[in-house]
Structure formats: structure tokens, C-alpha cells
Amino acid sequence: MSVIRQGIATIQRSLRADRAHGAWLAGFLLAAGLLALPSIGLAGEGAAAGPTEYRDIPYIGSRNLVWIVAQLHLLLAGFVLGVPIFAWLCEVIAWRGGEQRYDKLAKEFTKLLTSAYATTALFGGILLFLLVAFYPKLMNYLTDIFFPSFLLYCLLFLFETATLYLYWYGWDAMQYGRKKTLHVFLGFLLNFFALFIMIVPNAWATFQSSPVVISEGTAFERAWAATWNPTWWPINIHRLIANVVLGGYICGAYAGVRYLSAKYKEDREHYDWMGYVGNFIGVFGLLALPFAGYWLMREIYQYNQQMGITLMGGFLSWLFIIQAMLIGVLFLGSNYYFWLGITYRIPGSQAKYRRPIFWMLVSLLFCLAVWMTPHSLVASIEEAQKMGGAHHPLLGVLGVMSAKMTVSNLMILITFMSFVMYWRAGKQDAAGWAKLGKAVMGAVLVLASLAVVVLGVWGYFVPAIVRINYFSTSQVLIVIFVILTITPLTALLLKSAKTTTEMVWGNMPPRAGYSLVLNAVMVILLMTLMGYARSSSRVHWHVYGVMRDSSPYAYSPALGSASLIMAFCTFFFCILVAFIFWVATMGDKAKAAQGAGKTDLPHGIPAIAGGAPDREGGQ
């Protein structure tokens, strides 16, 4: 207890000594770290004979604690690795295009990033301590294989931290001329290191799911062989895209909350725009995510039939119905935000677009209904008898991958067209070839939709391998072709188009802000769900087929009890993010209160995460 009291006293002293808000964050992190330490002390010893294989703690249990901390670390990591990608892209847009609001937006994104970075590292540290304490045998085994990449990871972390500090604290100092070029390069480096920070630990986690035979050799050779396991790159790509989606939607939610609480017109306009950008980034990633997910599942199936069936046909298959529901809500929420944007930001467009929106909504709901229809239905004995089993004779065909792939591709197409509609709203084509261009785009869209449906239906009548390797891939390629054809054509058309109605920012109703928050919650829930899926697919193995889990927790929790942990992780992560954002924006409020004096702040004030100078201030 005296240690804790000392720790609290240290925090209080540091808070008194430094009024910068970064100190609050540091204090919180320190307190969290200190509070987590006794959990290791509480750990009970395992069997007396031989080296300790497992330790446990009372009440919550070692597995649940590791689960929660790992999930929170992953969510935070997803955010801090996803945000730099589009923060940097925004900066590049501002740098090349000269539109300074993008630079301001990039800076605001990065401000959120700096405050979240320390928390991510803290949870990573706690996770490591807990893993070493609770699973010494497993950690010993993994260390033996991955030792060189552990060192590489430390180096990468060092580079990432240094680059992030230079990138954030040098923002104002490197605004113009060659210095700006250097700053943009720092942003690139930040993303470069971030990518490797993600893919190195991905190798450790994917090796547990899809281990490969490691022959004798040097430590580097062994680590390299284990890294190149079958699911490493599918996970890398899937996580990279998912991080962008998570980052986009969380930034959108942040903007939504700020929009809802904004008191001034400029703030409303800014956060309305920021919310739009966040939602756009989220949707942009979301369109590509199902393709990456499909590739990952295909690799899992090919690696091990047992694992594939456990996920897609076995006890985890119900999880994918929940996944369909969450993704469906995400698609609906994102489209709803686009449609609200058309109605409220472009005055007079409501009547024009109401009918197309109606048909898009009906199509989306139809697709979602297909996606959410399980192969084996939940039915009472009486109902099952009437159906002649757990499969419905008519709707049962909707429960397999051919149908799911078809509707997910159609939903991507619909969402893309929603965006194109939003893009075109309030503009009148002036190009001579506009009629022809629109006819081509219409034809491409109709033909592509038909082709996706035909391939989906045909997929029932060909061997599975033909469907997986050719039909599903063709569906994906068709959708990508549509996106790559219609996007430049629309951009060309709009280049010469006349703006009939100026876009009005800051007019969105409160429900737009709430829908942004809903989207963020859905994507967090989705990530917690898939975290459970990936870990549970290993069933009773630490390292699949190699090292068996012989702890009392060598069982997969039922979906119902797992959902409690998922809900808790989602709730706690939201609270954590809200706290981090609150701390990060405290400085803005203080500066806003000082009024005109905000522009006089000296540049380059040294401050810890979250308290960096903000020349624009008061966003």
C-alpha cells in the first residue's frame, strides 16, 4: 500500500509542478500502471513440480485479464497506426493543393494521435508483463523462436517514437518551403515505421494460429521462417485496412461529439467538415475490408480445414451472423450520414435525391437481409419439423458464401454510388460529353451489378474451388473496376461542372453527430468480435497443433459470455478514448478562454503528449 501511496503522491506532485495537460495524462498512465502491478503480485503459483507453466489470479482469471488488456491494446494500436496514414495524406493534399484547412485537419488528427500513443504503449507494456507472468512456458517458447524480431521491434518503437515527436512538435516550425518537404517526409517515415511496428508482432500472433515447421538454423533464420507463416500477410493487409477504418470512424465520432457540443458557427462548420472527412475515410477503408477478410479466411481454410470449419461452419459460425449485423449497421450508418449530408448541406436537393436514396436503402436492406440469413436457422422443434430440418428449403440457399459474397459486393457498390451521388449533388454538368459519360457510367454500373449477381447464382452450380478461385475473385475485380472507372469519370465531369448550390457546412442535424458515434461504436464492437474469433479459432492450442493449452482455461467461452467481455472492452475503450481526447483538447479550451492572446503563443513549447502547441488553437 505504501508503494501505491507513494505513487499517488508522485502523481500529485507532478500535477502541481506542471500545469500542462500532458502531465494529467502522464499521471493517469502512471496510476494505471501502478494499479496493474499488484495483479502480478496476486498471481498464484502453478504446480510445485517442474518449471511454472501458468499463473492465475482470483476472480477475473488470468485469461480474461489478458483478453481485455490485449484487446484494448489492439484497439489503441489500431487507432495510432491508422490515423497517421490519413493525417499524412491530408497534409500531402494541403501541401500539394494549397488548401490549408487540410493541414489544420491533419494537425488535429495528429494531436489525437500523440495523446493516444502513450496509452497504447502503456497497454502494450502491461500486456507484456501479464503474458510473462501468466504464461511463462508459452512466452519462453515464443521468445526462443522470435528473439531477433523482439529486438527489431524495440528498435522500430524507438524510431517511431522519435519520428512522431519530430512530426508533431515540428509541425509549426516546419510549415513552409523546404522545411515543409522535410515535415512531409517525416510523416512518410512515421507511416513506414508504423507499418513495420504492426507487421512484426502480427508475425508472433499469426504464428500461433498457423505455425510452420521450423528447421534448425541461426536465430535469424528460425525467426524469419516462423514470420513467413501462411496467415501473416493476409492479417497484415486486413489489419492495415481495418486500422484506417477504425481511425477514420473514431475521428468521425470525435468530430461528431465536438459538433454536437460546438457553440460557435465556425466550430460547427469545422467539425461538420471533419466529421465528413472521418466518415469518408472510414467508408473508403470499409469498401476494401470485405475483400481482405475473404482472402484471410481463404488462407485459414487452406492452411487447416479444421480451423476453417471451426470458424465458418462450426461453433464460431454464429459469430459471423453477428458480424454481418455489425457490418450492416456500419454500412447503413455510413450511407445514412452521406444521405443526411445531401439533404442538409446542399439546400434544395432533398426532393431530387429522395427517390434514388429510397431505392438504395431498399437494396441495402435486401442485401443485408441476405447476409444475415443463417444457413441453419434458430428454430423451435415445431418450426424445424415444419421446415424439414434446420435449413429452410427456400431461404437456406442464402446461408452460404456464394450469396454472402454477392450481397457484400453489391453493398459496396451501393455505398460507392451513395458517395458519387453526394459528390455530384449541387452541381450541373457543363462538359459536351456529359451525356455520353453518364450513360457509360450507368451502363458500367448496371452491367457490373448484373455480372456480380450472375456469378453469385452460378457459384452454386460449380465446384467450390472454381467459385472461390475464379467467381469470387471476379466479383471483387468487377467491383474494383467499377470504382476505378466511375471515380475518374466523375472527377473529369465535375472539373467543368457548374456549381448550382454551394455546400453549406454546419447545418447537419444532431442525429448526424449521433450516427458518427454509432459508426465508431460498431467498428469497435466489430474488432472485439473478430479478436475473439481469431483467438478462439485456435481452440485448445496456444500454438495451433504444436503447443497445447493445458491451463484450466483451455476451453472456448460461449458466444454469450464472450460478448460480455467484448461489450466491456468496447465500453472501456470508448471511455479511454473520450478521456484521452478530453485531455488532448483541454489546451484548446484554455486558449479559447484567453481569447485574442491565442495567436501569441510561442512556438515549440516542450510538452508531453497532448499538450503540444497549436498555432490555430481553439478548433
Binding site: 471451426t310 462450426g314 447503413l332 429522395r354 436492406l365 423451435s380
Partner: protein, 239 residues
């Protein structure tokens, strides 16, 4: 009641009637379980709420009557109805809670896992029997002798004994059954039967015999070839 409120009520009503009374009577169809009807109605309701709240006008037309009914002043004769709703709604929620948790003679709804994962030793097994016309014919012969009484001579799950089982035997001609599985999966299911299902296959409702007690492995592999050929399906492969 505004026009915008009547339309959604009609849409919900029509949807319910279609799902409950029209779809089951389409040839080849069957009644939908309540879980699926609930799901589709929920999606319909979500669509209505989304569409009706797209603009300020449509939102007011949609929520306005409900808001006035629940919170407005001077609603005249509707006042009694408001109290009725305010009393009835919690009672309905309570009744729903009670009926879903009270002990009942009805067994609970099942979310059965149809394809539990096979044990590790069966994954990746390749059919060792060459795919020759003779072997396929022989497999069909074994199928006719041992499997067709339940799974049917046409591989459609409608053998003479099928009516005695719940759930019914699998329909191999359905592209969503054996066409989704590798041959090794079928080998495991035939060899070990219903009693060999793992825990994740609960509730164990399979009358499939444990054929390893009666048939040699070679016969089982031949039966698998015969099944796929007879049902005009192909096993899942990775080549």
C-alpha cells in the same frame, strides 16, 4: 395521425403478412421460423426510421404525431388512449420478459452447429482410392446398400426411412451440403457417425451409424466418390 405514419404501419403490416402467410405457400417453401421473421421485420423497421428521418420535414411528419400523442397538450379524446398506452406498454414488456424466461414444456429454440470441425487427424486426408469409373460404380453400389435407405436413391435425403428422423438425413443434391466440404470431412462423419460428433456439435442429433464398425475404410472412400458423382456435386479442393 399523419400520412407519414400510416404508410410505415402499412409497410410493416404487409411485410408481416408476406413473411407469415405468403412466403410459406410458395411451391418448395416452408413456414419461416419466428427468429427469421423478427429479423426481417427489424430490418424493415430500421429502413423506415432511416428513410423517414432523412429530412427535417419527413422527420417531423414521422415523429410529430407520436410526439404529440405522448407529450402534447389538448389532445382531447386521445388522452385516455395515451394513458392506456403508457400502462399497456410496460405490461407488454413485462409479459414478453416473463414468457421468455418462465419454465415451459416447450424445448428451447436450437442454434445447432451442422458442420462441427473434424478432429485434427482427419484434416487434410486425401482419398486414397483412384477415381476410376469402376470404383465410382462400386461406391454407388455400397451407397445403395448402406446409405440410400435414409439419404435416398436420388441422393436427395428422401430415402424410405427418412421420415422417421428429425432432423432429416442430409440432401446431397443440395449445393449447400457436401459440395461445401472436403472428402476427408465426409470420411470422418461416415466413419464415426453421430456418436463421434464433438462437443461443439451439441445437441447431438444425428442417427448416423458408426460405420467404422461395419465397413472398411476403402469402402467408405468409395462411397464418398459414389455420393459426389451421384449427387452431381464436387468436393471442396484447393487445386
Amino acid at each position: 395521425m399523419g400520412r407519414s405514419l400510416i404508410k410505415p404501419i402499412i409497410v410493416m403490416g404487409v411485410m408481416y403478412v408476406v413473411l407469415k402467410f405468403v412466403l410459406p405457400y410458395i411451391p418448395g417453401s416452408a413456414p419461416l421460423p419466428s427468429s427469421l421473421i423478427f429479423l426481417y421485420l427489424l430490418l424493415t423497421l430500421s429502413g423506415i426510421v432511416i428513410f423517414e428521418t432523412l429530412s427535417a420535414e419527413s422527420k417531423d411528419a414521422f415523429w410529430g404525431p407520436m410526439q404529440r400523442f405522448l407529450t402534447g397538450n389538448n389532445i382531447g379524446g386521445l388522452q385516455a388512449l395515451r394513458y392506456g398506452v403508457l400502462i399497456l406498454f410496460p405490461l407488454l414488456v413485462g409479459w414478453q420478459t416473463y414468457s421468455s424466461t418462465a419454465p415451459s414444456e416447450q424445448p428451447p429454440s436450437e442454434s445447432r452447429t451442422i458442420h462441427p470441425a473434424p478432429p485434427g487427424e482427419y484434416t487434410g486426408l486425401a482419398n486414397p482410392v483412384p477415381k476410376t469409373p469402376e470404383n465410382i460404380m462400386q461406391g454407388k453400389g455400397f451407397y445403395a446398400a448402406f446409405c440410400s435407405p435414409c439419404h435416398g436413391g436420388n441422393f436427395d435425403g428422401k430415402g424410405p426411412a427418412a421420415r422417421g428422423y428429425n432432423p432429416p438425413p442430409a440432401n446431397f443434391a443440395d449445393p449447400t451440403t457436401i459440395a461445401m466440404l472436403q472428402e476427408s470431412y465426409l470420411f470422418w462423419r461416415i466413419k464415426k457417425g453421430g456418436v463421434g460428433l464433438p462437443i461443439e456439435g451439441m445437441p447431438w442429433k444425428s442417427a448416423m451409424p458408426r460405420w467404422e464398425l461395419e465397413l472398411p475404410d476403402e469402402w467408405i472412400w468409395k462411397i464418398i466418390m459414389g455420393e459426389y458423382d451421384g449427387a452431381h456435386q464436387s468436393p471442396r479442393t484447393w487445386e
